[in-house]
């Protein structure tokens, strides 16, 4: 009797199957569930502007407004200080060291140098795993932008569109409506100007996909004055009207 026949005969006698004949059991199909939304933390001043109080899949910042870069840094400050990698693709002439003053952890910030069609390739590669991705929308055709958003939704990446061209389907669209630089003075009639630029105050308007609008005043580099008489917010103003001591 040949060598292989013994186990085969035994298996036939006992009604067993050989290991080689075993096939993996059919797997139950994965339950179809809507993936949980990935919300990345944002800094408290910005979270009021965002639906779900954090960065969801698509956020857009209107480029070309003065102060938009500071807003971008402030938007990346929340995720990066929470330990999430942020990648900025194809944005030129940024001075990244300024991001630290806005709260961005520079060890979690990657600048990807790409131009033209390589921006799309790079964003596609990054979207498979990076938590936050900022990219200029003008480099993408609408179809490419849609595809990238779908990919990001699957992988849990939050895109921040640097909106050089309008994109569709942003969960929130942030726009700097006004910027005020603090610390410089008119210094009329002087040959040496006192002071220095210490902070900036951004008025930001947010428009959500639902049409809801929100406004907030953001100090990306800190320095918000505590003097409530200069800048009464609604709560203290109401208190003052009622005659209470603030």
């Amino acid at each position: 009797m040949s060598k292989g026949a013994v186990p085969a005969a035994l298996a036939a006698e006992l009604g067993l199957r050989l290991a080689g004949e075993l096939a993996p059991a059919p797997r139950a199909p994965a339950p179809v569930l809507a993936p949980a939304r990935h919300i990345l933390p944002a800094t408290p001043d910005i979270s009021a502007l965002l639906p779900y109080s954090g960065l969801s899949t698509v956020t857009a910042i209107t480029a070309g407004r003065i102060g938009a870069t500071s807003l971008l840094w402030r938007l990346l400050a929340g995720p990066s200080s929470a330990g999430a990698w942020c990648a900025v693709v194809g944005l030129e002439r940024l001075y990244p060291l300024s991001a630290r003053a806005a709260g961005v952890d520079l060890e979690r910030l990657a600048l990807v140098e790409a131009a033209g069609p390589r921006i799309v390739d790079a964003a596609g590669a990054l979207a498979s795993g990076i938590p936050v991705l900022a990219a200029p929308s003008a480099a993408f055709t609408p179809a490419q932008a849609r595809r990238l958003a779908a990919k990001c939704r699957r992988s849990g990446t939050a895109i921040v569109w640097w909106e050089t061209r309008p994109v569709n389907g942003a969960d929130a669209r942030l726009e700097v409506t006004e910027v005020r630089w603090q610390g410089l003075r008119a210094n009329a009639g002087r040959r040496y100007g006192a002071g220095r630029l210490t902070a900036c105050e951004l008025d930001v308007a947010a428009r959500w996909r639902s049409g809801l609008t929100r406004r907030a005043r953001i100090w990306p580099y800190g320095g918000r004055p505590d003097n409530v008489l200069d800048m009464p917010d609604q709560f203290t103003a109401r208190k003052l009207r009622r005659g209470d001591r603030p």
Partner: protein, 455 residues
């Protein structure tokens, strides 16, 4: 009962461990178990039964002298310390006579244990203890009390009591794999076909030693004698997944690159075909250190993000993914350093650099030339004392003339005035323009330009 042999090259001047390697390789031929005490001095155990000790020493001296041309001294004793001292004079201490051999030695020899400071040796000599034997006869408790625990251990060693086992040297594993083409690879497919077993061999060599690597250098030598090489990052937890892709990208880059560069595909690519491929791992880690499962050093999100960054580096080249670091300097341009992610470490910013601008810094760079004018349209200058020649009122650039509504400065800087080539002198001014923009302006060589835009 094992004995200890110490081989010492008294004329060895090189402090370099690597230069001593060939000598150790020669010693390996005689005995597989060598401990390097320092470059030029090695110890190995010898079984008492292995034969005549003097004959072994003769063979050892012949081997080393034949290899290096240098004189070699050997010492044989029961303990390592006695053997080191015996090697100083080329002696063989008989079995069990270590203490007897050590007793008349000078007290300064105690330093060879590495446990005693020279000052303590001098103190002992001043106390009238001039030999190791006298030192050993001191009460152990008194030695520990006066000189500390390490001196007590040195006393035990000097008495020939304490002997440690030898620690064999770690052989450097040879992990680099190379393949030479019988027929030079002219196409990407041919090269890839050869590269696949090569990367498998590399990974097997690593896996056999329970190692993994964080970097791989791909080197290709062409038939014309050109050498191209590039180092790639790998995920140490799963090098195999990426290695094949890295090699493929690299070969595609090289082999399609020069076809593009020289229109004549056939003649050039045949001349530039790859004759030899080499994969060299570096950044070796143990599998346990590299594993993420047991000691969670990175969370899953970070791992995925790093994989995405590596993928992007593979796509655009390692220099395209940059991280920001602080660099030395005061001006915005020199103050920040951009380094490839996971590339070589950048030296950290040194010193406080007084005179650099405090935060917030400009968010966008700018280099355009501008003109700063006073109310009458006259160009402004800054005097040597750091005062403006007039009151700034307008900034003119690109055909526009924008009023200044607030400003500060100028802040002059005079860097490296002692060095004519590196000297730099400029003044900085912050302006807030009527259209809402704010800028940092530099005046250098009597010309204003934008140092950066606050944005």
């Amino acid at each position: 009962m094992t004995r200890t042999v110490v081989a010492r090259l008294p004329d060895w001047r090189d402090e370099d461990q690597a230069a001593f390697e060939p000598v150790l390789d020669a010693l390996d031929l005689l005995t597989p178990y060598v401990e390097v005490l320092r470059p030029g001095c090695a110890a190995m155990p010898l079984r008492s039964l292995a034969g005549d000790e003097a004959e072994f020493c003769e063979r050892l001296i012949d081997t080393v002298t034949g290899l290096t041309g240098l004189d070699c001294l050997t010492g044989v004793a029961d303990g390592l310390f006695a053997a080191i001292l015996a090697a100083g004079s080329g002696r063989i201490v008989p079995v069990g006579r270590d203490a007897e051999f050590l007793a008349p030695r000078d007290i300064a020899d105690l330093r060879a244990t590495g446990l005693i400071e020279p000052e303590d040796c001098e103190t002992l000599r001043h106390l009238g203890i001039g030999t190791l034997g006298a030192f050993c006869s001191l009460p152990a408790a008194a030695v520990a009390e006066r000189f500390g625990a390490s001196a007590r251990r040195a006393q035990a060693i000097a008495a020939g009591q304490l002997a440690r086992p030898l620690a064999p040297r770690q052989a450097e594993p040879e992990l680099t794999v190379t393949t030479e083409a019988e027929e030079p690879y002219e196409t990407v497919e041919q090269a890839l076909f050869a590269a696949r077993p090569l990367s498998e061999r590399l990974l097997k060599g690593l896996a056999d030693r329970n190692l993994t690597c964080a970097r791989v250098t791909v080197t290709a030598r062409t038939v014309r004698g050109l050498t191209r090489s590039r180092t790639w990052q790998l995920d140490p937890a799963a090098p195999s997944a990426e290695l094949a892709r890295r090699v493929r990208w690299q070969l595609e880059g090289w082999m399609s690159g020069h076809v593009d560069a020289c229109g004549d595909v056939n003649s050039q690519s045949a001349a530039d075909a790859i004759a030899e491929l080499e994969l060299a791992p570096s950044g070796l880690l143990g599998l346990i250190e590299a594993g993420r499962g047991l000691w969670e050093v990175k969370d899953a999100a970070t791992t995925r993000a790093e994989a995405a960054l590596r993928h992007t580096q593979g796509l655009l080249g390692p220099e395209a993914v940059l991280t920001v670091t602080d660099a030395d300097g005061r001006g915005p341009a020199e103050r920040h350093g951009l380094a490839p992610w996971r590339g070589e470490a950048v030296p950290p910013r040194s010193g406080p650099w007084p005179g650099s601008l405090p935060d917030p810094l400009p968010a966008r760079t700018g280099t355009e030339g501008v003109e700063v004018q006073d109310a009458t349209g006259q160009a402004l200058e800054v005097s040597a004392r750091g005062a403006l020649s007039a009151i700034p009122a307008f900034v003119a650039f690109g055909g526009e003339r924008v009023p200044i509504i607030a400003w500060a400065g100028p802040w002059p800087l005079d860097e490296r005035w002692w060095d004519e080539t590196a000297a730099r002198r400029y003044a900085r001014l912050q302006v807030h323009l009527a259209d809402g923009r704010a800028a940092l302006l530099h005046l250098e060589h009597r010309r204003w330009k934008v140092g950066g835009w606050y944005d």
